[in-house]
Symmetry: C2
Amino acid sequence: MSRRVRSGRVLGAVPQRAFGQVPLGIAPVEVISADQVEAIHQAALKLLAGTGMKVLSAEARGMFAGAGAEVAGEMVRLEAGLVGDLLASVPGAFTLAARNPAKNLRFGGRNMVFASVGGPAYVMDIDGGRRDGTYAEMCDFLRVIQTLNVVQQEGGGPFEPMDLPANTRHLDIYLAQITLLDKSWQTQTLGLARTMDGIEMAAIMFGCSPDSLPVSLLGIINTNSPLQLDIPMAEGLIAMARHGQVNVITPFTLAGAMAPVSIAGALVLQHAEAMAGICLTQIVKQGVPVMYGGFTSNVDMRSGAPAFGTPEYAKAAQASGQLARRIGVPFRSSNVTAANAVDAQAAYESQMALWGAITGGVHLIEHAAGWMHGGLTASYEKLILDAEMLQMMQAWMEPLATDDAALGLEAIAEAGPGGHFFGTAQTMGSYETAFHAPMLSNWDNYPTWLEKGAEEAPRRANRVWKELLAGYEEPKLDEAVVEALEEYVAKRKAEGGAPMN
Amino acid sequence: MSRRVRSGRVLGAVPQRAFGQVPLGIAPVEVISADQVEAIHQAALKLLAGTGMKVLSAEARGMFAGAGAEVAGEMVRLEAGLVGDLLASVPGAFTLAARNPAKNLRFGGRNMVFASVGGPAYVMDIDGGRRDGTYAEMCDFLRVIQTLNVVQQEGGGPFEPMDLPANTRHLDIYLAQITLLDKSWQTQTLGLARTMDGIEMAAIMFGCSPDSLPVSLLGIINTNSPLQLDIPMAEGLIAMARHGQVNVITPFTLAGAMAPVSIAGALVLQHAEAMAGICLTQIVKQGVPVMYGGFTSNVDMRSGAPAFGTPEYAKAAQASGQLARRIGVPFRSSNVTAANAVDAQAAYESQMALWGAITGGVHLIEHAAGWMHGGLTASYEKLILDAEMLQMMQAWMEPLATDDAALGLEAIAEAGPGGHFFGTAQTMGSYETAFHAPMLSNWDNYPTWLEKGAEEAPRRANRVWKELLAGYEEPKLDEAVVEALEEYVAKRKAEGGAPMN
């Protein structure tokens, strides 16, 4: 695959920006006042000190008790002072190592990371519709993710390979993530075994011991809203923190279902649960990097169905950014939609989510590319739609040049009143790189578009991912490392893999 | 048509918010620094004082000269001091009267107005494709606009009724705007005759003389970029300002074509041309309301085709807001796309434009609903897609409640750890109005959606506009006023209408 890189843009069959993070250029939007932030924060602290969290893991309860929390039965209550002390050691920013050091990622400050879809049950494309996925197809999906520069991190397995046994599937997924990608990948944190397998295999990848693994793994910890932390998630959290890896504590607070029917109420619950989880990471290992996950959305009040990319979602994302900054913890949000097709709804719901997250000062957008059906499905065409929208957001974030050449007084004088700029020296000189070059948008005029076959966005996206997949080149890994990984997988399969939770 | 209004939402067959403006709740985004704003402003002033504007109208040149500008041939040069003096009298905010006073609109400050598509050559729906429009169909399009609460202003004729003669068409359009709508409508400003016809007919509508017409008409004035103001636009501008009506001075600065190939350069040109036009309105009538129009986009560098809703467009919209605030003039932007179908591209390009405009502190979004094909086509389904997105933006702008009930500590205690909120008193009490209810989005799960016919967004939009059209009720106007309007139209048609420019 021959590609020229010019001015940060890769020129090839599919126009792409070069791999790289673009920092947010604006001050994050403040959608609620400082007083409102404080009201939510104080209500959450009151909840943690009063009702408390139901912690199903005895190990986690023991740790909370050891740190000074009040433990009664399964309930853990945390006083505001203790919460404040524990939050104080959370790093405001950190770097995550990738297999290819050129793809290391910076989280925090104005830096953000776009991660691909993680966790759906199904896969979908417009050729075959929605279906159970296979391991072979999951590997193809990972290959497309590897080719998409704007997707800076893999999101933890794009969908379940249903042709593999559930208790050892994670081992095959890790192997694929490590061998097919040279970018950073997320690990699975459901229970101790899956978590340790990720840590062990990442250590083999880096040629180190699990205890000296650099900060390189990121895993999602979901609390069971309202106010509950279950055993598998607690095990994952503790193992990750113990090994210096990054937990992303993400309550799933759906207003009207698992959370109050008001966005503020859902945020109070989210903030309380996130703080509880974040505190636990600091009890396990003071100073370990951890993230604040915001996943507040709302149900459709007519049907009870979850809705995503709503106005409430965007507002909650921005408010979540404010709450995360209030406690100094890097902030995770998501790119979400409940749409059933890669149509206008999929685009506007995702745009609402992206603008909410990005103007809200996000540091990680999970599910940034490929998430459909409220998280049930990974879609090839949605992956391309999202990659295009992410490229556009990156281009939007790039600073506007206002040097003398950019101000263009000479070019304007050259064109003159009523003149045109096609032929000016400035135009000729920046012909190929002046503006965002889309991978999905079609800007033909209508008659030309009709003549070329009237392809709408999903059909074009279908062509793009196939072109990318065809151009995929495997980033070669040392044969000895591959063998060691395969041995590890074989050994763990022989042992029976992970217990089923 | 029976409709219940509850908590600001109209409940009926098509879920809609009630008519009303929602102010921007956040501080406008600053996408460029104060220094950069100043660099662009100073470069524009330098351009006006140096190269100057080519003004083809002798009347306008005379007015500029009378105010102290340097006029040489067709060129008009304005010193920075003079520009500053003239800009000083522009009102920062104003109210525009509608036929129905409940639909009067406020421009400026944090208030914004959404206007429908204006000016396309073609009309389109998914039943008949793109075609020349007729007067009957244009009236139907206006009827749908009347039913859409979130479209607060009609945008100046949704498309050309090609079955009517070009020289008198504007009279029939005005008659339709006045009789079919009770919301405010935009007038045509191409030449003196069309402009005066709009003013005369608005005066008949309000039962006053043209000289005592309240601030009620808004017209778009396009400069011919670069740096040119033609005779018909100058005539329109002067007549509008003289009668106290609102000119929206909008250079069409397409970077790489009619403007330099850099966004900053296009903004310098836009800012210079807008200031020149704004100054002329203040020369005609000191203190007359006027708006700063930003319409900077870029061409596709591969084909030269205009592109809309690009990252550059969004950034330029936000920077334009900063430039307009720099000179204290209310700001107009647009909702634009170059997409050929009402697909994901149409949605994401429009979303980029809407987020750019709204976070940029816009006061008027022209073409907020229905604009397609880079402005060549008015689309029925795009109208509904846009109305949905505008409703979402309004819902996003609504303040987040953080009173005790909203914080939900009682509801959380009632549900308890691991419980659910479907049945809590709070949920039951705000069942119907807690969250945005969409008019276009479908939140069914995938199997249900398939079973119901797998309708994608354009098909659903098609049903929505037909339902709205079927439910349209004409807002009755006094018979005597209708007769007077019809007499005026007949008289002007007999006189030959407007000269062809």
